[in-house]
Amino acid sequence: MTVVTGVTCPVCGTFCDDIELVVKDNVITDVRKACAMGAAKFLNYAAHRNLKPLVRKNGELVETSMDEVVERAAKILADANYPILYGWSNTSCEAIRVGLELAEEVGGVIDNTSTVCHGPSILSVQDVGIASCTLGQLRHRADLIFYWASNPWSAHPRHIERYTTFSEGRFQKSAWKGYLSSLRGVLSIKRLQRAANLVLRRDVFAAPKIERRLPYTMFQKKRKMVVVDVRKTRTAEAADYFLQVEPNKDYELLQAFRMLIRDEELDVDEVAGVPVEILEEVADVMVGCELGVFFFGVGLTMSEGKLRNVDAALSLTRDLNQRTKFLIMPMRGHFNVTGANVVFTWQTGYPYAIDFSHGYPRYNPGETSVIDILCRDEADAGLIVASDPVAHFPRMAAQNLVKNPLIAIDPEVTPTTLMADVVFPSAFVGIEAEGTAYRMDHVPLPLKKIVGPPKTCLPDEEILQRILHKVRKLRGSQN
């Protein structure tokens, strides 16, 4: 039995690298320090896995040899006139590099999961830039933390304790104790409420109404957390202040803040369902902090306005730097999606949605992004690596994806592998295969190989190398 320390968790963009695993006989038996998602992955990753290479014959998926799947996959890609290569966020940078080489070789479109997640954020960064940092800067210095349209309590469970409100920094102390005491207060009020409702047999206390004034904790010299969201999430319950915004009105709110922080007045009385007096106080708090940060999530990128919501948030952050130090960071969700963006960019100049069909990289999301290509039914083959589009894509896109020859490289059985024509069983990166991946703030970290994979499961990097090699051979004989 061994204890492996300093393990990097391959689940979300928080990228905790302090996980400890207990390994016995090539099986992970215990996980320490990880959140529920991390623990689930380390303990149950092998629950639904693919162990054999598969091809579809007469409508059924049958087991076959590695050589045959490589041959089939290479042929599909070499023959295709507009193949798409999608996924990439659940695998290592080393594998992604091979993927790009393969996409270039077959003249296809390569895209990663940013296209359904923070792609709009990237588009806005390309228009207005971004004032950001690494997470440690915030742990050391940030005294005002906004989670806007993001719910780390559920999606990035250790984020708050490792990097923000409940972490210890050189210049800022953790706000954990303050939170605990206020939590005790809140819980006892809740108990009284429940008791009152039972006794009086009706709901005595209505839904939480908007607090007319900011709580006094927002003006204390300590770490403060503010949540802006359309509903009161668990994170909002732990926050010093919760600002409820009308759904799909974040753009108006962010733009309004840009004027308020310059001490300019608005003509209107409320924005996004929030009275302007409250917004003015929040603006004062923003301007008065030592170092503030906006974390934002898919609530901005995927609600009405999409990239322009992020545009407004980035512009607000930039404008705030005239008055104080303010930074912003997108809460990247998926494991190595940041790494996919980083590798794509250094090799091609563009972060996602790259079209190699003319022999050089071309970029135009909306035109070269995979969902749009699929909805317009323009692709004629697909290679999916480390992702599950059949489960997650809009129905039209998934339909058009599966009706063409489809290759899937995945360690697990997923809706995508079940619909594929060629399936490669692969090793789990970060558990059975090593590599490099990037945290949400672009810090690269090594992934360890903790246990050995089953013999038939190769790392993605190697599978892709074999396919690439075969494609080159086929094309060489064609020329």
Binding site: T134, Y350, H358, V443
Partner: protein, 542 residues
């Protein structure tokens, strides 16, 4: 005169019958180009690439049977970067700004940069361990920690950018002078410079400290540049350089504001002509639309305020910062034209070509593909006059160039584009064609005996743009400006051997979680991570 190459090295002679012969008659043969300062890999560079799709779309390179596809213009993708350098006869390039926490990223990109040997400099001027040790006067402790860092990040030299200013930028502030104390750390930029200069000596690093001065880009900052050089004069040993001031043009402004801004090149040249402890590189400006990117966070924010262009900022915990802003240098702008003049003035007024090297601080002053243009300016007064006639009248009137008739010879060009840079870097096998040197050779199609570069500067420019031959490690990789054989170079790094490595490891291990948000064991880069590592062992005095 013939040059013999065998097994990647220059040798005294080879058996001619069995050798491949390259007929370079009528052409000029130089060692492969060495670029001491160009931002080509890492977090900062990549953020710049991401920021500017509109810059890439106008300059594309299609895939060929031998080469990968890519894009330019001011921040080319990695493959394109390597190919373009090689096509100009360059064989060694130095990436000057690496945030240590993200060193892995820099090396991943360098590994994807073909054709050239490379190395990179970790940013250490604002590292908390440096600030604390120097504040407490613990030079040897500091040196031991810097040695650890050099090994952990696989770095080559100590890079210092706006010392103290980057830590101040953590809270949005800056330092204004060499004696301005860094908030919360009770140390001044002067102490940081002197401390790291001493550390550099103790560690016997092949290059000197590589310094981007305080107050960069501010009118009147030539005084800061002079101060910076003076402050370490007493630390120099014999005639050896003790400091390298990089992209000096940006630190050579006279005047008190943009209206009165003028060139401080004369004063700086005068100082450098009389002191041997300094080397510089130009940081030449080209009139084009390029991208500025430096570790100088506050300066980059200032550029955003000046231009209103999109701005990227990236502060790195415990260590450093960075900023990116697209920038267009306009011929008719008095300030930009003066900047153009300053770079050339520095190169021409400093008499010894071994002290000042040609760079554009790519991409800050312009893309490195503009090097042939600069060579033409350096070699031909006519070429300079032609550009002078098109620039802002005010800048032309103030420029010293009309009064300078010095023109660099081919030999001097070889020094400022390769030999001098290699020497400053301490790369003993680069920058010369003597026996034992690496077989990195560039052959340019211009006959120094027939062509007068002063008049035929266009021929010179064309020749340097597309090398007739580039030989890398003894193999012909470029012919007539085309890649004929893709290769991957080595990554040099300094393997400093100190006497107390265990103690340093223990100290860092203890404090690691307090300072950084990653684990101690995940920070250092193992040697096997680099595709072709080339450690240079060095024994330190500590």
């Amino acid at each position: 005169m013939d040059i013999a190459i065998k097994d990647g090295k220059i040798v005294r002679k080879v058996e001619e019958k069995r050798a491949e012969v390259v007929d370079a008659s009528g052409m000029i043969v130089m060692p492969g180009g060495v670029d001491i300062h160009c931002h080509i890999a890492g977090a900062e560079v990549n953020s710049g690439r991401l920021l500017r799709p509109e810059d890439h779309v106008k300059d594309v390179e299609a895939k060929t049977a031998l080469t990968r596809s890519g894009v330019g213009y001011s921040i080319p993708s990695t493959f394109t970067t390597g190919y373009r350098y090689s096509r100009m006869g360059y064989t060694t390039v130095m990436n000057p700004s690496m945030p240590p926490l993200e060193a892995r990223h820099t090396h991943e990109e360098l590994d994807d940069t073909p054709m050239v040997d490379k190395a990179t400099y970790p940013l250490l001027g604002d590292w908390w361990f440096v600030l604390e040790h120097l504040r407490d006067g613990l030079i040897e402790e500091c040196a031991a920690h810097v040695a650890w860092m050099m090994s952990a990040t696989k770095g080559y030299a100590i890079k210092i950018v706006n010392p103290g200013g980057l830590e101040a930028w953590g809270f949005g502030r800056n330092v204004e002078s060499l004696d301005d104390p860094v908030p919360y750390f009770n140390i001044t930029p002067r102490e940081i410079l002197r401390g790291l200069c001493k550390v550099n000596k103790l560690l016997n690093l092949p290059h000197t400290i590589h310094v981007h001065t305080n107050n960069l880009g501010k009118p009147g900052n030539y005084l800061t540049a002079l101060e910076t050089m003076k402050r370490v004069e007493d630390l120099a040993e014999g005639n050896q350089p003790a400091i390298h001031i990089t992209h000096c043009q940006f630190s050579a402004f006279k005047g008190s504001d943009w209206r009165t801004m003028s060139s401080g090149a004369e004063e700086i040249a005068k100082y450098v002509n009389h002191h041997n402890h300094v080397t510089l590189d130009m940081g030449q400006v080209i009139f084009t639309d390029t991208t500025t990117m430096t570790a100088d966070g506050p300066f980059q924010y200032g550029l955003y305020n000046l231009t209103g262009n999109k701005w990227v900022n990236h502060d790195v915990e415990t260590e450093t910062s960075s900023g990116i802003v697209p920038f267009r240098y306009k011929r008719k702008s008095a300030v930009h034209a003066t900047q153009w003049s300053i770079g050339l003035e520095l190169a021409l007024l400093i008499k010894d070509p071994w002290k000042i090297y040609m760079t554009t601080d790519h991409p800050n002053g312009g893309p490195f593909t503009a090097y042939p243009k600069i060579i033409a300016w350096l070699m031909s007064q006519v070429a300079r006059k032609k550009t002078l006639s098109k620039i802002s009248k005010r800048a032309r009137q103030r420029s010293l160039l009309p009064s300078i008739d010095r023109e660099l010879s081919f030999y001097e060009v070889a020094v400022v584009t390769r030999a001098g840079q290699a020497k400053a870097l301490g790369l003993k096998q680069k920058g010369h064609l003597g026996v034992g040197a690496d077989a990195d050779v560039a052959v340019y199609n211009v006959n120094p005996e027939q062509v007068d570069p002063s008049k035929k500067y266009k021929t010179v420019r064309k020749a340097f743009k597309r090398a007739a031959y580039t030989i890398k490690g003894g193999e012909i990789v470029v012919k007539d400006g085309q890649i004929v054989r893709p290769v991957f170079g080595k990554t040099f790094w300094i393997d400093v051997k100190t006497s107390l490595p265990m103690e340093v490891n223990a100290d860092l291990k203890r404090k690691f979680r307090e300072y950084w948000t990653v684990e101690y064991e995940n920070y250092p880069i193992p040697n096997r991570f680099l595709h072709v590592p080339a450690p240079i062992p060095v024994k330190a005095e500590v």
